[in-house]
């Protein structure tokens, strides 16, 4: 029982990170109806933004702690947000009225561009780097064999706060209303006087900023970073979004937690070598049983 609880907590904290990344996939899909395959690489860039910020003399002088955490999260979120906006503007916007397949292939191209430019020696380099400490890891709760550490608490607090914030933003603000309308029908939204280009930029900013937050949480827990590290978490978060019902925001969050838990449980109870396989198995099962996902409303689209 204790072990199960421990696995569950570990799984949900990994899942919270997937959920943050999955939100970006689903929000962007919601408005533009295509999968931004470069999203996992935006996440990767987020870890490098964190890495360089943590290595500045100023942040070094602060040392690990709350101030450093705030700075590094803000930097990665704003940095990734802007990167998302730039990618959309340069790569996807010129193709707005082209077939979706064209945009999809472009997204894969952007993904390769970020991965392989990142490996150049004068950019990040291909060798893994060690992510510096953001805050000290302490044990917050220990009951028998059950251990909850400060990183897990930070992951839950940050992820849940961002999700609630996103919900408020989407449901209660004017731009949020415009975003919802745009994801239902982009053409109708422009006929209402909504500046849909601005809404699309906004969506990329918010979705990518969430990936930036996820990046810091991930790098804190798994402090070896490299330019290809976005691929697997990106793919898993994408599967989480599909599991929840692509385009559905609640679905992306729930899907993230499920994927994280499934992965950790499989690693713990069956075999660590199956941790990735289980996620792809889940993808295959959803695609067969319910392609529209847990919260999807039918009307599937091939991507």
């Amino acid at each position: 029982m204790e072990e199960f609880l421990q696995q569950l907590i570990n799984g949900l904290s990994l899942g919270a990170i997937y959920a943050l990344i999955a939100l970006g996939y689903t929000m962007i899909y919601g408005v533009l109806r295509f999968i931004n395959f470069a999203h996992g690489d935006v996440f990767m860039i987020g870890t490098y933004i964190g890495f360089y910020v943590l290595n500045t003399a100023f942040v070094q002088s602060l040392g690990p702690g709350a101030e450093t955490a705030v700075i590094v999260f803000l930097a990665a979120m704003v940095g990734c947000g802007l990167l998302g906006v730039i990618i959309e503007f340069l790569a996807y916007r010129p193709l707005r009225n082209r077939p979706k397949l064209t945009v999809l292939i472009t997204a894969i191209g952007v993904s390769f561009f970020l991965e392989y430019t990142g490996q150049l020696p004068f950019v990040f380099g291909a060798d893994p780097r060690t992510f510096p400490t953001v805050v000290e890891k302490t044990t917050v709760l220990q009951a028998g064999g059950l251990v909850i550490d400060s990183y897990q608490i930070i992951i839950f607090v940050v992820a849940i706060a961002l999700m609630l914030g996103l919900r408020l933003l989407i449901m209660k603000t004017r731009i949020g209303t415009a975003l919802r309308a745009s994801s239902m029908n982009l053409k109708a939204a422009s006929l209402m006087g909504i500046n849909t280009n601005a809404v699309i930029s906004f969506t990329f900013f918010v979705g990518s900023a969430l990936a930036g937050a996820g990046a810091i949480l991930y790098a804190m827990s798994y402090p070896k970073i490299n330019p290809l590290m976005g691929i697997l978490p990106g793919l898993k978060a994408f599967i989480a979004a599909v599991l929840g019902g692509i385009g559905n925001i609640l679905g992306a969050a729930v899907g993230g937690f499920i994927i994280g838990a499934a992965e950790t449980m499989t690693a713990g109870y069956i075999s660590p070598t199956l941790r990735d396989a289980i996620v792809f198995a889940i993808l295959i099962i959803i695609l067969i049983v319910k392609p529209s996902g847990l919260f999807g409303r039918g009307g599937t689209e091939k991507v």
């Binding site: 209303t177 919802r180 029908n185 109708a188 006087g193 280009n197």
Partner: protein
């Protein structure tokens, strides 16, 4: 109020509009009739800024609006009830109506405009909290027209309000179009395949055939024109 001169629009290599000219005087209801594929929707969408103008001009109150972004055109006072209605399916009737008023800040007047829509289409008040996607075709059409009115337009573009709705409701919708024009004095450009109804509510009409205007005149004259009767009125 609206002056279109030599308008050319194309989809890739296909010319959808081959240089059409027409105008809509202030306060009038003008109709553009034509068969399926004639270019009616393309015309309205281009006025609303959804397509690029290849050649020609679109002047609204003297101001050139071709190739302006859609949201700017709405802010100038042109709103549209689009073909297929394009209701936001997941938003309630109320929220759909409020989307129409997206650019407005005059809360009090928005309130009274809502009441006006309900007086024209009482059904919308009954369905106020229902999701737009669950309405019948006729109700969605009422909602699409009302939503466009919520923008407080000077010029209202109506794209085939009779499309896909029950004949009895078609009658009602066209009565309401006349009523709205009379009550609010809003200028209208109505696009229709249903020439019979369109020529009844409009004062002036243009006939559009594969991207070209082939005939124009007062609606009553066109209604008695033999060619029009044969081609569009099934006589």
């Amino acid at each position: 109020m609206l002056h279109v001169e030599g308008l050319k629009v194309s989809y890739g290599a296909i010319a959808a509009l081959k240089g059409i000219s027409f105008h809509v005087p202030k306060g009038a209801v003008v109709t553009l009739i034509g068969a399926n594929g004639a270019g009616k929707t393309t015309t309205l969408q281009t006025i609303s800024g959804l397509h690029k103008v290849v050649e020609g001009t679109i002047k609204f109150d003297g101001q050139e609006i071709s190739n302006m972004p859609s949201h700017k055109i709405v802010s100038l006072g042109i709103s549209q009830s689009p073909e297929g209605r394009l209701i936001f399916p997941g938003l309630s009737v109320k929220e759909n109506l409020m989307m129409g008023a997206y650019l407005r800040k005059d809360k009090k007047e928005i309130r009274s405009d809502l009441d006006y829509c309900f007086s024209i289409f009482p059904r919308l008040r009954e369905r106020l909290m229902q999701a737009g996607g669950t309405l019948s075709g006729g109700e969605q059409q009422m909602l699409a027209i009302s939503r466009a009115l919520m923008a407080k337009p000077h010029l209202l573009l109506l794209d085939e309000p009779s499309l896909g709705i029950a004949p009895l409701l078609v009658q009602l919708i066209f009565e309401k179009i006349t009523e709205i024009n009379r009550d609010l004095g809003v200028t209208m450009l109505l696009v229709e395949q249903n020439a019979h109804m369109a020529l009844k509510v409009a004062s002036y009409a243009y006939v559009l055939e594969t991207g070209e205007i082939t005939l124009e005149g007062p609606a009553s004259e066109l209604a008695s024109n033999e060619d029009v009767q044969k081609a569009y009125l099934g006589m």
